[in-house]
């Protein structure tokens, strides 16, 4: 007796749409490789490589017997140099600039490459695409920036009698601060990237134009910048020895630690929510 043959016309039961979390992880998995091996990563390597190079040069100079750096005849120790480098190179430059370059490209690149259609045609929520890409951005930048900071810390802090052990807690605070900065800047520029036509230009104007300007303006305008709240965390993250107070003296009006943390959390949450909402509702028209 012949076996019954399954008809080719029989339809498989419809598969259930993946959950939001699963969709986010799939997009994350897809995006992180794209981000890491893009031209932007070369730029990122340059941005975080310069402080490492400077740290190596300082160590070599010390090994060659060069005299210790001093300001106004006061010796500047390794922890102080590290604090200054962290502020100048990472918090004021690398973090916002990486946020701009990566954050604005999360959706804008897909639109520009005309590949957003393929993502939107998948049976996943559109917001999961943005969140997955945002998490990939965070993983990508954190995996490059934090090891760079740790290397600089290992090289610089022992200069001038600085102790690694005594400054370890400060390093943890610094790493947390950097991760928070990357998250907040990334969320803001993800929103700009999702909603604006020329997001990179707008982002650069915000980071290199508005934020430095707002810091100099009197009144409440500085509260409309992320740098204002990030610098509110800096006194907690930096060593509180005397030469550092010179640097801290430059930022006389800073919000409290609690206020900074609350506002950064609000900015992060709101920006991500609005960005996800924008991606869900907006109709992206691909230029032919």
């Amino acid at each position: 007796m012949a076996e019954p043959v399954r008809s080719s016309s029989t339809q498989a039961p419809p598969t259930q749409a993946p959950s939001f979390g699963y969709a986010v992880m799939r997009v994350f998995d897809l995006s992180i490789g794209e981000m890491l091996w893009s031209r932007r990563t070369v730029f990122m390597a340059l941005v975080v490589g310069v402080p490492v190079l400077m740290a190596v040069i300082l160590r070599l100079l010390q090994a060659a017997g060069a005299s210790q750096i001093s300001v106004n005849n006061v010796a500047v120790t390794g922890p102080v140099i590290f604090g200054v480098m962290l502020w100048m190179f990472f918090l004021r430059f690398s973090v916002p600039v990486l946020g701009v370059f990566y954050g604005t490209s999360l959706i804008a690149d897909e639109v520009e490459d005309k590949t957003i259609t393929y993502l939107f045609s998948r049976p996943i929520p559109r917001s999961a695409i943005l969140i997955g890409k945002y998490l990939a951005y965070l993983a990508c930048t954190i995996c490059v920036v934090l090891p760079s900071v740790i290397i600089v810390w290992l090289l610089i802090v022992p200069l001038g009698g600085g102790s690694l052990g005594a400054n370890f807690i400060d390093l943890l605070k610094d790493l947390g601060l950097l991760a928070l900065g990357l998250a907040v800047y990334g969320a803001l520029f993800a929103l700009i990237g999702a909603g604006m036509k020329r997001p990179l230009l707008s982002g650069l104007i915000f980071v290199l134009g508005w934020e430095p300007l707002a810091g100099l303006l009197p009144g409440y305008l500085k509260r409309l910048s992320i740098a204002y709240y990030v610098q509110g965390l800096v006194p907690q993250a930096m060593p509180s020895n005397t030469p550092m107070s010179l640097l801290q003296g430059l930022f006389r009006e800073v919000p409290s630690l609690t206020e900074s943390l609350i506002w950064l959390a609000i900015i992060l949450g709101l920006c991500l929510w609005f960005a996800a909402r924008t991606v869900t509702r907006r109709e992206y028209i691909l230029e032919q």
Partner: protein, 351 residues
């Protein structure tokens, strides 16, 4: 995720874990050999109840340009040679770090212990110590040499005490009894006998200075700023100093104080005091401002003194009062010049 991406993420995680692991080890052990001669390891032998603690990176200070210049001004010191001959310890080369704690006691000089880290000939030290009346004993598996009191010894008899002899006298008990303990290879504890034993207890039980959160947090702040530092609690020091109560009552309302010095080409440092309230802090600032103004008035047109006084800066806010200072290398050159001129004037003139 591609293999390359996985390798990259793993490499990044490896660097982060390695760096953080190094930091963590340094945090618990106090610096790493060859990276930083931290003071953390020495704190492990200082009792938690210390009223004041000091530390000096002797090696760095001895090798500094400042020290070389100072040697030209000050005599070379026969006492150093005497120390080397008697104990076989060359302070300039054999000692790396010195950490000291004051625990308080019935007299101002009792309750002090010094932890010396370096390269020592233990046998030579013990031989010489026992020749000078020290008695060797084991205390919790640590060899301790306890000295009989020299003042008491002299008063009891003209002949020196033999090893093992003890003086049992009510007056003698009031005097601190010096002792030396060999804590670890290359680590000595010197000081008053009870304090040395407390240092051994602290090293064994872990109830060391790192458990004193108040002093430890202050130490963490100052020790990165110089190769010598000192921190203390004013109330405990005043209580044990033997000062008259009238003097203690008029001490500035300072609860904690710290000083750190960095010795290199010149000398730079910072003094810091934590006042009990902001009013006391402001009063202290006023006193310092007045002293600085008086110093500038007295210095006249001397550019070197003016440079040094200009380097004095008042810092701190709220309850914290600080003063930074710097002695530039040029000032030492000036002192050298003055010393040379003084020697020329003292030299006999041939007629």
């Amino acid at each position: 995720m591609t293999r390359g991406t996985r390798y990259f993420l793993a490499g990044s995680a490896f660097v982060a874990i390695l760096g953080l692991g190094t930091g963590l080890v340094a945090y618990y052990n106090g610096g790493l050999p060859g990276v930083s001669r931290g003071s953390e390891a020495d704190l492990a032998f200082l009792p938690a109840g210390a009223a004041a603690v000091g530390f000096a990176d002797v090696r760095a200070i001895m090798n500094s340009e400042f020290r070389q210049k100072l040697r030209q001004v000050l005599p070379t010191g026969e006492e150093l040679n005497h120390f080397k001959t008697e104990l076989g310890v060359d302070i300039e080369h054999d000692i790396d770090t010195v950490a000291a704690a004051y625990l308080g006691g019935p007299t101002p000089f009792s309750g002090a212990v010094v932890i010396v880290r370096g390269r020592f000939n233990d046998v030579n030290i013990e031989t010489i110590a026992t020749q000078h009346g020290a008695v060797a004993e084991q205390y919790k598996n640590v060899r301790v040499l306890t000295f009989t009191h020299p003042v008491a010894a002299a008063s009891v008899a003209d002949t020196p005490l033999q090893p093992g002899e003890q003086i049992v006298d009510a007056d003698v008990k009031a005097h601190p009894v010096p002792a030396v303990a060999f804590l670890q290879p290359g680590v000595l504890a010197l000081g008053e006998s009870d304090a040395v034993k407390k240092a051994i207890d602290a090293g064994e039980s872990g109830e060391d200075l790192r458990k004193n959160t108040e002093l430890k947090s202050l130490i963490d702040e100052v020790r990165g700023t110089g190769n010598a530092w000192f921190v203390g609690r004013t109330d405990m020091l005043a209580q044990h100093s033997g000062m008259p109560q009238e003097v203690v009552d008029h001490l500035p309302a300072v609860s904690l104080f710290a000083a750190s010095v960095h010795v290199n080409g010149g000398l730079s440092g910072a003094l810091r005091a934590e006042a009990r309230d902001s009013k006391s802090a402001e009063q202290l600032r006023d006193v310092i401002r007045g002293a600085l103004a008086a110093g500038k008035l007295v210095s006249g047109d001397n550019p070197k003194m003016d440079a040094m006084l200009s380097s004095l800066q008042i810092t701190g806010s709220g309850n914290s009062v600080g003063l930074t200072f710097a002695v530039p290398p040029e000032l030492l050159d000036l002192l050298n010049g003055l010393a040379a001129a003084h020697h020329l004037n003292d030299a006999p003139v041939k007629k």
